[in-house]
């Protein structure tokens, strides 16, 4: 179930604030569009000059009309045009959608980055929330305050094939064997959804992972996980039927996975109808939501950059992430 989106073009402050914000966006984009058109015109002129400078000396040379000096001049001019085009391509924004999202999210108080280099994907792999043997495309990192919690969220999608150079074979090592089983079990399913990293209100040292049961290797071998520790059997039958928990510290696992937290995780899965994986590491909570939803969707070609409906889409996505964190009650006031 999607959390309720704002019914009117989505601002909490009311219509006036909405119009003012849209107007501000419109002005900024109008400026950006003007710049883009200007650069586009210059780039087109340079391109045609470049083509002309290439063709003319060639034709002139064959016809014997142009002298060598003039031909060299044309070639030099072509070189300058080429460099000019390259410079303009560098200056021109490559991805207008990225600009749209960046502007909108900036106005809503969030930091946006298209590239996912800064996102701690490796942590998700170490916590077995994502398989090490599959490629994941991460994009659209949004950072900021979601429902009172400092968090970073991004869109994630996996490819079915394994990474180049990965050798899915057993080398007499339990971890390798389990990685193979894990990868094999994972590769049958697909991941499309989002990843969230958020501050956890309680301090902790160890690592703990909560994984959906259907994504696990055979239960006999599941206790042999290296790195995520041993199996943690919790009091809730419903939880044990749906999830498997592992931790490097049995006591701290129970400190993190309190009975109320267990209920919240179960509720999260049913409300959002998603495959939920949760990991605790380095004082942060890592959430992998395989919900089949495209997070932070692009505006699309047919839409105006300042389309209020797109602003609503972005707001709905932010509200969606906020609802996940709210459901887990990660607000600073909660230490339970």
């Amino acid at each position: 179930m999607k959390p309720e989106a704002p019914s009117e073009p989505g601002l909490t402050e009311g219509e006036d604030a909405n119009s003012a914000e849209l107007e501000r966006l419109r002005q900024e984009f109008a400026e950006w569009e003007r710049k883009r058109q200007r650069y586009g015109t210059i780039a087109a002129a340079l391109f045609y000059t470049f083509i002309g400078c290439i063709i003319l000396p060639l034709l002139g040379g064959f016809a014997g009309i142009l002298s060598g000096g003039i031909a060299v001049f044309f070639m030099a001019l072509a070189g300058c045009c080429f460099l000019g085009i390259k410079l303009l391509i560098h200056i021109l924004p490559k991805d207008p959608f990225r600009r749209v999202k960046k502007y909108i999210l900036k106005h809503l108080g969030y930091r946006y980055s298209k590239d996912a280099h800064r996102f701690p994907l490796r942590q998700f792999e170490r916590l077995y929330l994502l398989s090490e043997h599959l490629r994941y495309k991460l994009s659209d990192i949004v950072e900021g305050d979601f429902a009172g919690v400092k968090a970073m969220a991004c869109k994630a999608k996996n490819f079915q094939e394994s990474r180049k150079g990965d050798r899915l074979e057993v080398r007499g090592n339990q971890a390798n064997l389990l990685n193979v089983l894990h990868a094999a079990s994972r590769s049958s399913g697909k991941f499309e959804g989002g990843l969230i990293v958020a501050e956890f209100p309680k301090p902790f040292q160890s690592r703990a992972t909560v994984l959906p049961k259907n994504l696990q290797p055979h239960s006999l071998l599941s206790g042999l996980f290296q790195g995520v520790g041993e199996r943690v059997e919790l009091e809730s039958e419903d939880f044990n039927d749906s999830f498997l928990a592992y931790s490097t510290d049995q006591v701290e696992a129970r400190y993190l996975l309190t009975p109320s937290m267990i209920d919240r995780i179960l509720r999260l899965r049913s409300i959002f109808r998603a495959e939920v994986g949760i990991g605790f590491s380095g004082g942060k909570i890592h959430i992998a939501m395989n919900d089949g939803r495209e997070w932070f969707v692009d505006p699309g070609m047919g839409r105006e950059v300042t389309d209020p409906a797109y602003l609503d889409d972005i707001r709905e996505d932010l509200e969606y992430v906020g609802a996940i964190l709210r459901e887990l009650n990660l607000g600073a006031s909660s230490r339970v």
Partner: protein, 193 residues
């Protein structure tokens, strides 16, 4: 009679009994490990008590009786015990529980002393105490899960026979038995705090 049956059946029974015995011993060790993690957490609380008492004494002159009781309970928790003796273990866990109740009462009464309540050190001490209590609660859950496993293995036949030979006994649960918590909550007094 077929020698395979003569030697094979007793051999299979012996192997089965050995695995049963091994599982009981490993459950006992797991319960003892869980008990030691409870003790580690209780020690944290134990170390915290003198600081809390020192702070409380400055402001809570009228609660001398309670402060003395907490000191006594702390001394009782400190007494050595044998983890393999269920009676001694139960007494140790009961004393720890009583200390928890006493400290809980102390913090509840601290609400009546505005100077104490607003003191930065006591606020920090209370936060640390809550964190330690969270860890104790987690350790208790781990211990009770391990004890439940052990007690099932020890009490259910034929585990009871093997446990008798191995001299493995059931262990007591670390239960929350606080009569204060069973009382109905007075919402008005809570809202006033």
């Amino acid at each position: 009679m077929d020698p395979m049956i003569v030697y094979g059946v007793p051999a299979i029974i012996c192997i089965g009994l050995y695995f049963w015995y091994a599982s009981i011993i490993s459950r006992k060790n797991k319960a003892l490990e869980a008990l030691s993690s409870v003790d580690v957490q209780l020690q944290k609380r134990f170390d915290l008590v003198p600081n809390i008492l020192k702070l409380a004494q400055r402001f809570m002159d009228h609660e001398k009786e309670l402060l003395t009781r907490v000191v006594e309970l702390r001394a009782k928790v400190q007494q050595p015990y044998s983890p393999t003796d269920p009676t001694e273990l139960a007494a140790h866990l009961e004393a720890s529980q009583a200390l928890e109740t006493g400290l809980g009462r102390l913090f509840a009464l601290a609400e009546n002393y505005p100077d104490l309540k607003s003191d930065a050190t006591i606020i920090r001490a209370q936060e640390t105490y809550e964190e330690v209590e969270g860890h104790i609660s987690a350790a208790r859950r781990y211990y009770n899960a391990a004890v439940s496993d052990l007690n099932n293995a020890v009490e259910i036949f034929p585990g009871s026979v093997i446990a008798g030979f191995a001299r493995v006994k059931t262990m007591p649960f670390y239960e929350i038995d606080n009569p204060e918590w069973r009382k109905p909550v007075d919402v008005d007094s809570v809202m006033r705090l």
